[in-house]
């Protein structure tokens, strides 16, 4: 099977490529990149005017299956991923049952193989049942294909447990993806604590709730030489701590989400629960710091924190609503429109944040996030000129909870190719796949 992606601007930061060329896929692998490659009977994909990138990777996706299939399942989540331009997603383990043993991890992989359209890599929990007390069987989880460990949704509250997790995970070379939140400081909070929480009369979550835990985790990384990845960094103070940790040479990485990069806590004014997310949307100074950190290279990757919810969980009073945003299908377009088109990020930096960056965090940079000949042919193609309005009713995800609804964005994913198969074209996910 041959597929020739013709005439696109190929942007592959891992290999320092940014020029208009052709890309040939043979079977499921990238075969060649070059000028005027011969068709030789290959299926043609005209990418003129488009940007051809390594397949985008989201290392922070909540797929909800098993246990909460009414919010999302692996089939719907992976289609949302394809529509959003992602070819690899890492599934967080806060399902029911929790991915704290090989059987559940294998279930996720097998279900993805049967029903999914993109690559789904499971993440194992740090602790059994994510209860924060006993370590999960990390060796078994690693063997079952888990690419990281996380209790996301909740922090690993006990410092001794985090210490041992980092020490133990070192044996497998896998990172701990940490949800940094001091629950005593954030308790009952609904939004960022500051001027606007005062005005809206909603209980605030102070920036310190995140920063205190980031500081703790950095200290643990120093103690253990373990790999800590800070999920959804959202405050200026947390970024300062991460910057210092990196300067010290500690194995600390971090991600930013599109919503924290683009929206401020002003969005909460409507009391529309689609703006309710954890960590909360922050005030301008934090958003500005995060944007600078993404532009200057401090932030390692952009991750969606895709958190789909059923309507009942969001269509209610603000304080009663669940936290989270259905993010897979808007992440790339939001970043394109609000950060690239505004000149804050170059296309190359943006592609790196969605490809080589996340691949490095999960230790898969040799095989993912690059178009190096020989690697699995996961490819994302962007159309910088497509203009579309976000309409959650058209989401592939079961989660329609998007604070970007109604927003007109320029620059959308156009195609997604997974192992040489075009799974999404012109924003439409192919029917009949698996």
């Amino acid at each position: 099977m041959r597929l020739l992606v013709k005439g696109g601007r190929i942007v592959d930061p891992a290999n320092g490529i940014d020029e208009t060329m052709d890309l040939l896929v043979v079977d499921s692998a990238v075969a060649e990149i070059g000028r005027s490659l011969p068709e030789d009977g290959a299926e043609l994909l005209d990418a003129t005017g488009k940007i051809v990138c390594p397949g985008f990777i989201d290392i922070h996706t909540h797929l909800r299956e098993p246990g909460f299939e009414y919010k999302e399942d692996i089939a719907s989540g992976s289609r949302a991923a394809a529509a959003g331009g992602f070819t690899t997603i890492c599934a967080m383990p806060n399902t029911s049952p929790v991915v704290d043993n090989a059987a559940v991890a294998i279930f996720v992989r097998e279900k993805a193989r049967q029903a999914g359209v993109v690559d789904v890599l499971p993440i194992g929990s740090v602790t059994k049942k994510q209860a924060g007390e006993e370590l999960s069987e990390m060796g078994e989880l690693a063997e079952a294909g888990c690419v990281a460990f996380s209790d996301d949704g909740s922090p690993v509250t006990r410092s001794d447990v985090m210490r041992h997790a980092l020490e133990y995970a070192r044996m497998f070379g896998l990172p701990i993806l940490s949800h940094c939140e001091d629950l005593n400081l954030s308790r009952d909070g609904q939004m960022h604590e500051g001027y606007r929480s005062t005005v809206f009369g909603l209980r605030g979550i102070p920036a310190a709730a995140e920063e205190a835990m980031v500081a703790r985790d950095v200290i643990m990384a120093q103690l253990t030489s373990g790999r800590v990845h800070v999920c959804h960094a959202s405050t200026a103070g947390a970024l300062d701590i991460i910057r210092k940790a990196k300067l010290q040479g500690l194995k600390v990485t971090c991600e930013a989400t599109p919503h924290h990069l683009v929206l401020t806590d002003e969005a909460v004014e409507s009391y529309d629960a689609d703006t309710k997310v954890n960590p909360p949307l922050r005030s301008e100074e934090h958003v500005e710091a995060l944007r600078r950190a993404v532009a200057d290279g401090l932030v390692d990757c952009i991750a969606t924190d895709h958190a789909p919810h059923n309507l009942e969980s969001k269509d209610c009073e603000y304080a009663a609503a669940s936290f989270g945003i259905s993010g897979l299908e808007t992440a790339v377009a939001v970043v394109m429109d609000k950060l690239v088109n505004t000149g804050l990020l170059s296309i190359g930096r943006m592609v790196e944040l969605f490809t080589a960056g996340p691949a490095r965090v999960i230790g898969l940079s040799a095989s993912r996030g690059t178009l190096t000949p020989g690697v699995r042919a996961n490819i994302t193609i962007l159309d910088p000129n497509t203009v579309r309005t976000v309409d959650p009713a058209k989401f592939y995800s079961k989660g329609k909870n998007s604070p970007f609804k109604g927003m007109e964005l320029r620059g959308w994913p156009w195609a997604a190719i997974v192992a040489g198969t075009v799974v999404c074209r012109d924003g439409v996910v192919a029917q009949g796949l698996r």
Binding site: T198, V199, G201, Y318
Partner: protein, 313 residues
């Protein structure tokens, strides 16, 4: 835009000064109605007003009910504690059920900030916020402003000190939004743990000691302290709170000569206000209650599109 053009009354923050004045001016003839032998005018005849209180309240709910009755509206109260809410019905479904029964105005109190905003988006009824979480309590602020204006002749340029748990107080927020629109110097004073972040950005002066906050004040608005805040670790004891923040007779000399004391009630005597002050001649608690009915009559009347000429005479 006049207030009578609005669909809902969700807060003071987004009201214009003209709208507030329209309500306060309309409340004057409404208060006259309350002084009559027969306290009933036919202006809302055939209109339905329903009160739905998700939090306990006696005075606000009764005040709205009487306000509606005095204007000849048919008023009804949904007792949430005995309603389908207890069977797990969502707020949206409860409101939709009420809506199809045909009332024109929904008066709602809810423990969660923004709940009336959510309801207002999802119903064609006119919605009046009777207090939502720690956000706003607009009719309380309006009755406070009415009471102040009645005593002082104006709101313009007064110094108003709000004392107590500012952090959790919807009364404080609505008062701040309203009074600052009239050029009042608004001061807030209370324990630093009960002071919201960046409160001064609302245009108020913040104090953590009572005496300087009271100096020269024309009005002191004392907030009710919720005792459970102590269990939450926000202050050490009721004794310490009352030592530091209770309004006592000796504080009166600090105020302007004709300084008055307000309290939204119910009062914790001996905690935030001493009995001598509570029962003293400069404290307007009972007048506030009466004025509350008048102000709510004005709000209901204007929301149904009433004009001044209908209630003259």
């Amino acid at each position: 835009m006049g207030f009578d053009q609005r669909k809902d009354l969700l807060g003071i923050r987004d009201l214009g000064r003209d709208e507030i004045e329209q309500i306060l001016d309309t409340a004057i003839p409404m208060k006259d109605i309350l002084k009559r032998n027969i306290k009933k005018v036919p202006v809302l005849r055939g209109k339905g007003v329903i009160t739905v209180f998700y939090e306990n309240s006696t005075r606000t709910r009764t005040s709205f009910e009487l306000a509606g009755k005095y204007l000849s509206a048919d008023t009804s109260n949904l007792a949430v504690s005995t309603s389908s809410v207890q069977k797990g019905e969502t707020l949206r479904d409860t409101i939709k059920t009420i809506e199809v029964m045909g009332p024109d105005i929904l008066v709602m109190r809810h423990g969660m900030s923004g709940a009336p905003h959510y309801v207002a988006r999802n119903t064609s009824m006119r919605v009046i916020n009777a207090g939502d979480g720690t956000n706003e309590h607009p009719t309380q602020a309006l009755l406070d402003m009415f009471s102040i204006r009645e005593h002082k002749g104006t709101l313009e340029g007064l110094t108003v000190t709000i004392v107590g748990d500012i952090l959790h107080s919807r009364v404080a927020r609505s008062n701040i939004y309203g009074l600052t629109k009239f050029g009042c110097e608004v001061r807030v004073v209370g324990p630093s743990t009960l002071m919201p972040p960046e409160i001064e950005k609302l245009g108020v002066k913040s104090f953590c000691r009572l005496e300087p906050a009271l100096a020269g004040a024309d009005v002191v608005n004392v907030l009710r302290l919720q005792k459970e805040r102590q269990q939450a670790g926000l202050f050490p004891s009721l004794d310490e709170y009352s030592n530091l923040f209770m309004i006592r007779p000796e504080h009166l000399r600090l105020l302007a000569d004709d300084g008055i004391i307000l309290h939204p009630g119910p009062m914790n005597r001996g905690v935030e206000i001493s009995s001598e002050i509570a029962d003293g001649p400069r404290t307007l608690v009972n007048e506030q209650v009466t004025n509350g009915v008048a102000v709510r009559m004005a709000v209901l009347f204007l929301m149904m599109g009433g004009s001044r000429s209908e209630i003259a005479g």
